[in-house]
């Protein structure tokens, strides 16, 4: 199996001197093609920081990090990953289609090819009918789907998602989770997913990494042995609840 993310003893300190904040320490993470990994932990434990290190939006202060056996900056320049931020971050002045085409424009993909791929992606997130709408004409969930389509438009091998459904209500959230699982199944992409929601982490992932607060470390790793095909019945299965309890206890342990 190919190693998509390979982190060894990764650490990140913000600032220096008396004001230094040790955000992450000694992170070991190995992720293979097709993995769906969720990062879960209390607010401020460094989940976003870890994702940003992988995305080369931040530089680690210690340790080693390879993405697809390359440096993070090489991987970023090669567009090995697509990123979905907590807020959809769509450009107001572009239609849905043009937003999805943005990375392709930057890659100098020819016009017809761009439009073909954007249509394909919008199909995938079931927004074909909204291609010519502007972002403000869409609901929060639809905007997040556009952001996902944009992240997938250039066919990266890795998808990074930072609390992408944080702003959604429970119903849309469950729909989006189903959607993401479908995409993951159809494209064979690897996913790193940051969330605050235990059920969400369990429902989506092949592995859940539970983190400790300040300095952030990976406390426990829980393999999710639910069947690959997941749907409503999964959410009602006893194993699902057992795993939720397991993650919850892992989060609690060592507290107080």
């Amino acid at each position: 199996m190919k190693m998509v993310v390979d982190a060894r003893g990764l650490g990140k300190v913000f600032g220096s001197g008396a004001e230094a904040v040790q955000a992450l320490t000694n992170i070991d993470l190995r992720m293979e093609t097709g993995d769906f990994i969720s990062l879960i932990g209390p607010s401020g434990c460094g989940k976003s920081t870890l994702l940003r290190l992988v995305a080369d939006l931040l530089e680690p202060t210690s340790g080693e990090l390879l993405i697809n056996a390359k440096s993070p900056s090489r991987a970023r320049l090669d567009r090995d990953y697509g990123m979905v931020f907590q807020s959809a971050t769509l450009l107001d002045w572009r239609t849905v289609r043009k937003n999805v085409e943005l990375p392709l424009e930057i890659m100098d993909v020819a016009k017809e090819e761009r439009s073909r791929r954007a249509s394909e992606m919008l199909d995938l997130v079931q927004l074909e009918l909204f291609a010519d709408h502007y972002p403000w004409q869409l609901s929060g969930g639809m905007q997040q789907r556009v952001a996902i389509a944009r992240a997938l438009a250039f066919q990266p091998s890795l998808l990074l998602m930072d609390e992408p459904f944080g702003a959604l209500d429970e119903m849309s959230r469950e729909l989006m989770q189903q959607e993401v699982l479908r995409l993951w199944g159809e494209t064979g992409i690897s996913v790193v997913f940051v969330t605050h929601s235990i059920p969400e982490a369990v429902f989506l992932s092949t592995r859940v990494l539970v983190m400790t607060p300040r300095p952030g470390r990976i406390k426990t790793e829980i393999a999710i042995d639910l069947p690959t095909e997941r749907d409503l019945s999964t959410r009602e299965s006893p194993r699902y609840f057992e795993l939720i309890t397991e993650v919850r206890e892992a989060l609690r342990s060592g507290e107080s």
Binding site: L57, G82, T89, I106, W136, F154
Partner: protein
């Protein structure tokens, strides 16, 4: 709040013609669209008429002398009688204002891009510009009249250009710089070059700032041209015409010229408003809830 916030706030507040902003129905003139149009503009038209009628009524009632304040009816009849002269002067002044406007706005855009690109340049430049923006630059008019020939339109364009330059430069720079951090991270995550980010994020983001300042600048440009003309210039421009007629106690003529100036000012403003809608139909202020 930073100094620059003050400037943009002020520029919104001085936006006296903002009553014209809003949804002018484009395309289909359905009865509903006409009703909506009427609903929006009738109140303004109504209050305009009330002011004119009150003006006419009160000047008659109190027997106010023409040299103090002419009646609207006197102004209108002078406006019709002197039609050719007064519009001739109006268009001369407008051409000075437009010339200075184009020069000032172009220079402002160039500096803004440089300021957005080079931190050092920005740090040296912006505080000076903000200070200059707060000084009454029209006061330079006599000096510009001295530098360039007093009768040459160039001297008036120079004043207009300098007056227009600062608000446009400061606001556009601000728009180019104050981009959402998340959008910059997005661009970085897709390996965009700084030039790509400039073109696809910073420039679109600066457009509303640019247009807000250019709307103010359109009014400023006419004001600056006329004030510059007050300090001296050829006889057939608005500023000099107004002074000459006032010196001859022909006040309705002077007011007719002022009327021309305000019609030109409003027209200029509306042209920019139309350009704004054309260039950024996506902007918040044009959204309809249909």
């Amino acid at each position: 709040m930073t100094e620059r916030d003050d400037i943009i706030r002020e520029s919104h507040e001085t936006d006296v013609l903002s009553a014209f902003e809003g949804d002018v129905p484009v395309g289909g003139r359905t009865p509903a669209a006409i009703r909506e149009f009427g609903g929006k503009y009738l109140p303004a038209l109504f209050s305009f008429l009330v002011v004119i009628l009150l003006w006419e009524g009160l000047t008659r009632l109190f027997g106010i002398e023409t040299f103090v304040l002419p009646k609207p009816s006197e102004i209108i009849s002078s406006f019709v009688e002197t039609w050719d002269v007064v519009w001739g002067a109006g268009f001369k002044t407008l051409s000075e204002a437009l010339g200075g406007f184009v020069i000032g706005v172009s220079a402002a855009l160039l500096t803004s891009f440089a300021a957005a690109r080079w931190v050092r340049f920005r740090e040296g430049m912006l505080p000076v510009a903000i200070a200059a923006n707060a000084t009454p630059i029209v006061a330079l008019a006599p000096i510009f009249n001295n530098w360039f020939s007093i009768t040459s339109p160039i001297s008036k364009m120079a004043v207009v250009a300098v007056v227009v330059y600062f608000p446009v430069m400061i606001n556009t720079t601000r728009g180019l710089l104050e981009v959402d951090q998340a959008e910059l991270e997005l661009m970085r995550s897709v390996a965009a070059t700084p030039a790509e980010t400039m073109r696809r994020v910073r420039m679109p983001h600066a457009l509303p700032f640019f247009f807000a300042s250019v709307k103010v600048a359109s009014a400023l440009s006419l004001i600056a041209a006329i004030v510059a003309e007050y300090f001296g210039g050829p006889q057939d421009v608005l500023g000099q015409y107004i002074i000459n007629r006032a010196n001859l106690f022909q006040f309705p003529d002077a007011w007719a010229a002022i009327l021309v100036a305000s019609i030109l000012g409003v027209a200029f403003y509306l042209v920019i408003l139309a350009a704004e809608r054309l260039v950024m139909p996506w902007h918040v202020s044009f959204r309809t809830s249909k």
